[in-house]
Every structure is written in C-alpha cells, then in structure tokens.
C-alpha cells in the first residue's frame, strides 16, 4: 500500500489520507465508521465461556465443543452443528484446516474439535487435511477452514487472519513490515481464491503484544471463538480486541507498530471483505466481561 509509488510515512496516517482502521491502530484514533447498511453487513460471531480454560490455561474439550457447536449454529442460523457445516462445506469437498503454526499457535484442541465436528457432519476423515506449512498444497483442497489464533505480530502489526496463508506464497519474508499490505494478494492466488468457507479464530488465549517471540505477560484468557466468512471483517474485530486489551493493560496509548496495513488493503486493494466497522455486525454469546469491542 503506497500512494502513487511514494512510500508511506507516519505523516500519511496523521493526515488521514489512509483509512481509519489503520489510523486507529497507529494513532489511537477512532475506527472507520462511515457508511454501511444493515443489508450488506458482514456477520462476525463471538462465543465465550469463562470456563473454557482452567487456571493453568488447559482447555476443557467438552466446553470447547459446546462453544464450537454454538458458533456454527449462531453463525449459519441452522438448527444443528451438522447442518451448519453442511451449509459451509459438502461431503465431496477436500477440506484443508489451516491453523496458526508459530508464535501463539492454534490450540490442538481447537483443531481436534473442528475435525471431529466435520466428521460428525459427514465429511470423510480422509478428506480432511492439515493445510498449513511450507509443504502444504492448498490446490489439493476444495475448501479451506482458517483456524488462526488471535495475536499481534511485530512485522505485520496483527498476525491473525490475513497472515494465515503467508506460507502459501513461498516467500513469507516478502510480506513483512511495510509489505504486510500485500498479504491480501495471497488470498487471491488461484489455489486459494474463493476456497475459505469459514474463519474460526482461536481466541482462547490471545497474545496482544507483537513478539517477535511469545511473552506470557502479554497473553490473557479471553476464552473465545470468533467466526465469520468475511476474513477482513473477522480481522477487523480481532484488531479491535487487541487494541482494547493493549490500552487496558498499560493504561495509556500503546499503538500497534508497525501499522497493520494489511487490514484495509485487504478491503480496498484486494476486495476480500470489509474493514469498515459500520459494515460489520458483531453478535456475542456467553461470557461478556471484557469483550474489548470498544
């Protein structure tokens, strides 16, 4: 993301010549809220249960399953989790699960719960693949389920949804720092484009500082699952949660740096979804303390 070939600077954010979503993360200004209509809103659900993890942060698999079922039912409007899955994927699909591998990796329990739930819905086990990693082949999948873990990232600002497919590029370093704006192009690769049927964010134990390596002081028990089919809307909600947590933790402005250029670029340059808060409908269920939605 640059303006007519001129590299971006802090001043571009200050002038407001870039979108408000990024400005909000860098400068602590307000998220973009202009426009939007009820008919065109992207739905993002947040399901939380205070007991999803114990005091040692071990995941309770039974509670997680209930949260997953509720997520699927609430998001799709279907009566059962099986019906919900079958509105998203078909039994003949080859389904690739794409968890976060590094920094704050997706809980294995989340991957297991999703796989088990898909099998219950009638997707053959042999047609459910782990599609993460340098050697993964998204071209072999007809459907992808994104399972990122909620985290900030020191080279891309936020490293949750849009960064999830970075290894598909074969050149992850090309998308760091200022080039994080280009992350959206990976979602438009022929082997990836249009295949993402659901983004289910593991927000059980997020990381609100950028690393680059995990620091447990910046993790907290949010005990949530965040879901949507619009990856940019889901990322925008994740960004707001991260920003609110940082503000709460330090009691003073704590901007994300570098700015997560990828979020608005995914909207404006790559057409992957909306980063406009007014075009996002957030529905939350369950535990509602410190939702961190501003």
């Amino acid at each position: 993301m640059s303006q007519k070939g001129k590299p971006l600077t802090r001043r571009d954010f200050l002038r407001g010549t870039l979108g408000a979503t990024i400005g909000a993360s860098v400068l602590g200004t307000k998220f973009m809220t202009a426009g939007g209509s009820a008919a065109s809103k992207s739905l993002v659900t947040i399901v939380r249960d205070q007991s999803a993890m114990d005091s040692s942060n071990n995941v309770n698999a039974n509670i997680l399953k209930t949260m997953l079922d509720q997520t699927l039912i609430k998001f799709t409007g279907k009566n059962t989790a099986n019906d919900a899955w079958l509105s998203l994927v078909k039994p003949e699909d080859t389904v690739g699960l794409v968890p976060t591998p590094h920094l704050n990796p997706t809980h294995q329990e989340v991957e297991d719960a999703v796989k088990s739930s898909l099998i219950d819905a009638g997707i053959p086990e042999g047609k459910i693949l782990n599609a993460q990693g340098r050697s993964a082949n998204p071209g072999a999948c007809t459907a992808l389920i994104g399972l990122p873990a909620l985290k900030a990232h020191w080279l891309t600002g936020i490293g949750t949804v849009l960064k999830l497919y970075i290894l598909y590029s074969g050149m992850p370093r090309n998308y760091h720092d200022e080039n994080n704006a280009k992350l959206g192009e990976i979602w438009n690769l022929p082997s990836v484009r249009g295949k993402t049927r659901l983004v289910l964010v593991d927000a059980l134990h997020p990381l609100c500082d950028k690393g680059p390596q995990p620091d447990p002081r910046y993790k907290w028990a949010y005990n949530g699952l965040i879901a949507g089919t619009d990856p940019v809307a889901v990322e925008t909600v994740c960004l707001r949660i991260i920003m609110e947590k940082r503000k709460l933790m330090r009691g003073e402005p704590w901007p994300l740096s570098p700015p997560p250029l990828c979020v608005e670029a995914a909207d404006k340059d790559y057409g992957l979804g909306t980063s406009n808060w007014n075009n996002i409908k957030v529905e939350n269920y369950g535990w509602d303390e410190e939702l961190l939605l501003g």
């Binding site: 802090r10 080279l155 950028k210 690393g211 740096s257």
Partner: protein
Amino acid sequence: MTESKPILPKTAGFWTRPDSPKSVNAQNIFDYMDGAGELYVGYRFDHLEYYEYKAKSQEDILVEIYFMKTSDDAFGLLSLDWGGEPVDLSQSSQNNAKNVSTDMPRALYGEGLLRLWSDNIYARVMAYQETPESKQAVLALGHSISKDRRNPPRPDLLKNLPDSFEPNWELRRERASYFRSHLVLNSIYYLGQENMLDLDHTSEALTAPYQRKDSSGDKTRIQFLLVKHSNNERARSALAHFHRAYLPEHPLQTKPGYSGKMVNIFPIEDGWIGYKLQNNTIAFIFECPDHETARIIIDQI
C-alpha cells in the same frame, strides 16, 4: 571469560536437558523462528544455541542463548521491553529478587519468562507453565548463564540520553530502546515504510519518549530519537534521505562544502519536529507541542 560458553546444569529442579544444544545461525534462523528472525539479524547476531529442558508431568523449559557480536547488541535486545520483575542474577538463585535496581536491570522475569543481558549474550529462559518450581528452575538457569561473565557497561550512546529536558520534560526510561535496524525502529515508533535513516549494522540508534513532569495530569509526550552513523558523511546522507522521505516539502538546503552543525525545526501534522546534525550523529525530537519547546530542547542536545 567473555568468549566462554555458559555451562548449563544437566538438571534444574525437575527438568533435565539433552546432552548438547541445538544451534541456529543467520542462515537458518528463519527456519527456527519464522519472521522473528528479523529481530535478531537486525542486530549483530552471531548464533543461537537452545536447549529444551524436560520433566515428567511438567511443561518444558526452553533455554535460548543468543550469542551476539557485541555486548551492545545483547543490551539492545533486552532494551526492547523493560517490563517484568527485575532480578539480580549475580546473587544466589534463592535471593535474586532482593534489592535489585529497577533502572535498566540486566535481567527481567515475568510469568515464566526470564530475559537477560550478560556481556555478549542475550538469553530467554521460558517455562511454558509457570509454577513455583518452574520459576525457581528458570532463575537458576539464568544464574548459570550469567555466572562468571563480564558485565560491561551499557552502550556509550545512552550517555546521550538525558534524564530530562528543561523546562519540564522527563525521560520515560522504561521505554528507552537501543537498536540498529529500521524494522526495529518501526516496531517501537513507526516513521514510515522505507529505511529513511539508512540504519544498518554500522549504525546505532536509541529512542525514548519524554513526558511532562508536572502534576497537571497532562500526558503530552515527545519522542526522542538519536542516530549515530559510522562517519559524518553517512550521517549527512541519512539526513538528506530523511528529508526526501519525511519532509519532502522542505528540501534539505546546504551550501556546497559545508560540513558543520545543522539545526532545523518544522511544523508537521502532529506538532513540531526538530533535529540537530552534529558530526556523525543526528538527534530528532517528534511531536513537540510548539516551536518554542522544540527550540529549547534542541538547544539542550
């Protein structure tokens, strides 16, 4: 002593390490830690050795020892986050939280993670599950890493970081960071996409905010940035690059052959920016509330 490798105990509490560490260099660091490697190669990184201590029915303890080419580089890594509980690893591991200076300590502990600077080593010792036993083991391992090693002073550049600027600006010392890479600068204080100050391994820089020290509750801050290049010519060239990238409406005007001090102050969108170039060093201040403040501070640099 400084070149020696730390000797880590075979066991620490319940945990036991393998016989030898795994080693990572600048060529394969990205295989080990993905994009996090950019941080270490942004400093003068030599290599990393790591051990995974394991124990039955306990989460692992990961020990990462980063061998940097200078003590300054190891300090820089610790300086990126002064949060946590300061610990004194020169004392016995039972006693290490007592009477520790909170002013840029050499080791910090928080929720299972110990980070330390010991001469040319920066180390991270992390218990994946914090318990009283794992904390004791983590601190004991930190003690072993730093034992019998030199404790060189902080980088000389920090001597140029005043505790305060008149009339009433106080250093936020716990936010002061030392680095050599624009990626690291952007992760602390975002200036822009390109390496507009020409930072590299031959340069060094530090940045910190200053806050009003009156009791009015005013949280106005200014950001101080100091960049030192290997020679005067490089510093002058970096300043010209900065002007082109950040202040394009104010082209740098110098008389041919002039090599003296340069001082400028400009209003931009978030207040006043000022700098002083002197020899091979450029000092910047960002977000000054008014011209007078910028002038007074620049005059003190």
